[in-house]
């Protein structure tokens, strides 16, 4: 029923241990887990400092995604990683639609507008996990 489970994460805001609940869920549902991170769109004419900050953020995000992949592999979960650019709510909704995602999961991030996300997701269920991974 839930063939594809999408989990939106923000590197630096979530610890690997907090993802246990999502990994358990993917395992129980035998879903393919798509782990998505979204970088803000690059400004048209970024300063050197902005470029460096973005570079660090992208490095950190890829590292986090591959850390998750490694843990998921240890559990023999089917997993795909995605790094996109844009606004999180719009990007999540777009990925959900494009890749026929059945269930969405994420964490209560400060920068994520839950109401807007629910609105954009339409009938796709959304689960929020807390810091205990529940």
């Amino acid at each position: 029923m839930y063939r594809r489970l999408l989990c939106y994460v923000e590197a630096g805001e979530t610890r690997l241990e907090e993802l246990e609940g999502v990994l358990d869920l993917a395992s129980q549902l035998q879903s393919r887990l798509i782990v998505l991170a979204v970088l803000p769109e690059e400004s048209p004419d970024p300063s050197e400092e902005e470029k460096q900050e973005r570079d660090i953020l992208e490095d950190r995000t890829w590292n986090f995604l591959y850390e998750i992949e490694d843990v998921a592999f240890g559990r023999e979960l089917k997993i795909s990683l995605m790094l996109e650019e844009g606004k999180p709510e719009e990007t999540i909704a777009s990925v959900v639609k494009s890749y026929e995602v059945d269930l969405c999961a994420t964490f209560p991030y400060k920068g994520l507008d839950a109401e807007l996300l629910l609105q954009k997701l339409g009938s796709t269920p959304l689960l929020f996990f807390n810091q205990e991974g529940r």
């Binding site: 992208e58 490095d59 890829w62 995604l65 591959y66 592999f73 979960l77 089917k78 997993i79 795909s80």
Partner: protein
């Protein structure tokens, strides 16, 4: 600091892959590493790569695939690169064939190096300019130069 350009050799670069199917492409790149005596136990390495491949889509989209494994068959971080003009189906989420394929092997105990290499390579290959340059490189030496410049 992990450097991609230090983990790959010119002889580990195949600009015109003969194989056209995922497993055959992986075998072709694995045999390149074996021929270079970088991998001692071909059977173990291949099994480790394919085990992961069965669970994950290592096709990261944008025409790129990064099959990878931590394995007892590797004693250091190793890379091979293959290019396919026709493209190979690596089950990418975007459904597009992969033209640029990087094979990564790392020792079991070098998890942080392995993660950093994957992250660094993924970041590099998200850049369109980088993909275009790698697609057009005429020689393995040119590929090496592109990788060094990107770092």
């Amino acid at each position: 600091m992990i450097r991609i350009s230090e983990a790959i050799r010119e002889e580990g670069i195949v600009l015109d892959l003969k194989a056209q199917e995922k497993v055959a492409v992986i075998k072709e790149l694995v045999s390149v590493m074996v021929d270079l005596r970088l991998i001692q136990d071909e059977e173990t390495f291949l099994a480790d790569i394919l085990k992961r491949e069965n669970l994950e889509s290592t096709g990261i989209g944008l025409g790129v695939a990064i099959p990878h494994a931590r394995t007892t068959a590797a004693s250091e971080l190793l890379l091979a690169f293959g290019r396919s003009a026709k493209g190979v189906d690596f089950n990418s989420l975007d459904g597009k064939p992969s033209h640029l394929i990087f094979l990564i092997a790392a020792p079991e105990e070098k998890k942080s190096h392995y993660i950093m290499a994957l992250a660094r390579l993924s970041k590099m290959l998200r850049k369109e300019e980088m993909r275009t340059r790698l697609s057009k490189a005429a020689t393995p030496a040119e590929v090496m130069e592109i990788l060094k410049e990107a770092e």
